[in-house]
């Protein structure tokens, strides 16, 4: 009830004949936005690390490679976010990436297709595997955690067998035209007259495109909204006429597709389509969306937050690398910095709540 009704006449109740007063939606102060909170943490860390190690601002050796890493992990995070939107998990993100990268490598190796076609193959295969996971989940009613865990085991075996069989080892020795440019060039390498582009790697736009597309999907389309509704209550969604089976399958397919994209980007970054692509995707895939404010329970996602979350983890990793900790201390510090970053976010949240605002 807005305070304005205090002076309202006694008939201000919810009678069909009188519109109820409606308070203006509470305005959020800028700091109550979780995305801003993340930005602040990132900025603080960047300032700290550059003060401690000026090399943090080295363009060629720090900033450019960091952008490439972030690109991959943003996409990985989005792959997980697609199913987190349902309240599901995809424990097979890494292995889906590996299968997709295999498919791309295979296409380059056997059919000599151009770079873009390989990318499409990776996307299609990733989406197909993801859709299969979704189909198993909907048709059996088994928890997504279990299904994708089992799928992860299964694909782990499959990927090794496939490489063994078709690559005669553990990687394809392929270099489609343009792969090296995509891997190591930045826009700064391309000049029109005296004006060169910014020092941004060529793969960054691909990740940005993924962010924009996924963001658009969840923000503006009927399909995206229906996925979120399904995530918030499966039963209510079914009873509201949402085709839940199709939505669950398509969210998993999207997850597979993005995993495929991430696998492709990592293969480009690493310079080879090999069996170990995606091995280290699982934890970062959760970290980025969750740091960015996506709920594990489903029903709400934050795409920009995921991008910022991936950035934060990369900044932490990079900064600690530059500080040259030993292996054991490095891990301890990464964990501690993560906890601190998460707790800061909580403090912000609590402060916002105390002010009576839902962040």
């Amino acid at each position: 009830m807005s305070t304005s009704t205090e002076q309202a006449p006694a008939t201000s109740g919810p009678a069909p004949d009188s519109a109820p007063e409606r308070a203006a939606a509470p305005r959020l102060p800028w700091w109550a936005n979780p995305r801003i909170g993340l930005l602040v943490v990132i900025a603080a860390l960047v300032a700290l690390f550059s003060a401690l190690r000026p090399a943090f601002l080295d363009i060629d050796l720090t900033l450019v490679p960091m952008q490439s890493d972030i690109s991959v992990f943003v996409v990985v995070g989005l792959a997980q976010l697609s199913v987190l939107s349902l309240g599901h998990m995809n424990l097979a993100v890494g292995r889906m990436a590996a299968v997709a990268a295999f498919a791309a490598g295979f296409a380059y190796d056997r059919f000599g297709v151009p770079l873009v076609v390989g990318l499409l193959v990776a996307l299609v295969v990733g989406a197909a595997v993801g859709a299969a996971a979704g189909a198993i989940i909907t048709s059996t009613g088994v928890n997504s955690f279990v299904v994708t865990l089992a799928l992860d085991f299964g694909l782990l075996g499959l990927v090794a067998i496939l490489y063994d069989r078709f690559a005669g080892g553990v990687a394809f020795a392929v270099h489609p035209a343009g792969m090296d440019a995509l891997r190591s060039d930045t826009f700064y390498d391309y000049c029109v007259g005296p004006v060169c582009g910014p020092p941004v790697p060529l793969i960054v736009p691909i990740a940005v495109a993924a962010v924009v597309v996924v963001g658009f999907l969840f923000r503006f389309t009927r399909q995206g909204r229906e996925v979120l509704m399904t995530g918030s209550s499966l039963r209510a969604a079914r009873l509201s006429g949402i085709p839940v089976t199709r939505r669950v399958i398509s969210a998993h397919a999207l997850s597979g597709l993005l995993a495929g994209l991430a696998g492709f980007l990592l293969a480009i970054n690493n310079g080879a389509f090999s069996a170990n692509i995606g091995e280290s995707f699982l934890l970062p895939s959760f970290l980025a969306p969750v740091l960015g404010g996506t709920l594990l329970a489903g029903g709400a996602v934050s795409v920009i937050g995921t991008a910022l979350g991936a950035t934060l983890t990369s900044v932490i990793q990079k900064g600690l690398n530059l500080l040259q900790f030993e292996a054991d201390k490095l891990q301890i510090f990464i964990g501690v910095v993560l906890l601190v970053a998460l707790s800061l976010d909580r403090v912000r949240h609590v402060l916002a709540e105390r002010k009576g605002i839902r962040a």
Partner: protein, 326 residues
Amino acid sequence: MTTLTSATRPQAKVRTSLHRTEIVLAGLSVLAFVVLAATTGGNLLEAGTLQAVLQYLAVPIVIGLSQMVVLAVGQMNLSVGVLTGLCAMVGAGLMADAGLSPWLALPAALVVGAVVGLANGVLVVATRINGFIVTLATMTIVAGLRYGIHGTGTYQDYSDGLVRFGRANVLGLPVVFLAAVATAVATWFFFARTVWGRQLLASGGNPLATRLSGISNDRSVVIAHTLSGLLAGVAALLVVALSGSVNASIGDDLLLPSFAAPIIGGVALTGGVVSVVGTCLAAFIVRLVDVAQAQYNINPRWVDLVVGAVVLGAVLVSQKRGKETS
């Protein structure tokens, strides 16, 4: 009371479905074991083989229970594996480097486990951050600590007596296996009979109702995480006693099995339901897959495929009636 007593119609059969999972798993275990024993010409039944099967079943059982305890309150603990490694390194290090007797070193290892678990729980409660994420962070920290104790080196010969004990048999059954079974029984008792155990399950089953009943969910979460850490410590003791050599790689391969056992065993990820029997049986089945690999000389990559299929198959069979997805 006419309308009421007649008004009993089956609905969501929580208990029976759990019982069905357990029965299916029991049937599957017996079947797999018999098939394996028959096709290997009885090799499986020889004392030495059986002993190897059961010895290396101990840790999966305890680590599965360790995960199950947090699943009971609807949490997850990603740090169980590395925590087992840390406790093992602490125990072995105290014996090898500090020259402590096992009587002091092993309890110390248990304490480390419980303290890390407690820290997990307190962090979850104090920061209100999702347990999945908190334990993800502590996992990194614990992995660092584990490695910090002895670098890449391997501890060996820390205590002959302990290792002899760890490899001993009682009535033909390995001591470590019996210890795991005892742990399982204690865990069962905790959940079935103690007030804390029931409160944990209540918190997992319906946190709001539990809070409204005057029970602190926060306390349940802290207790669950502490117990989980303690059980990881128990797993570490089994490792130290059984293997005779430990290094910082211990625990790297325990995370997924820790989830596989309870989940195949019928424990709900949403909390509120546990099955000690199911968890133990599931661990046994996964162990049999390993054994089959050794017996039939299967490419380990195919084993991954098989484990994947077994996980899915077991869950499918026991959930024949389509429950809600998600």
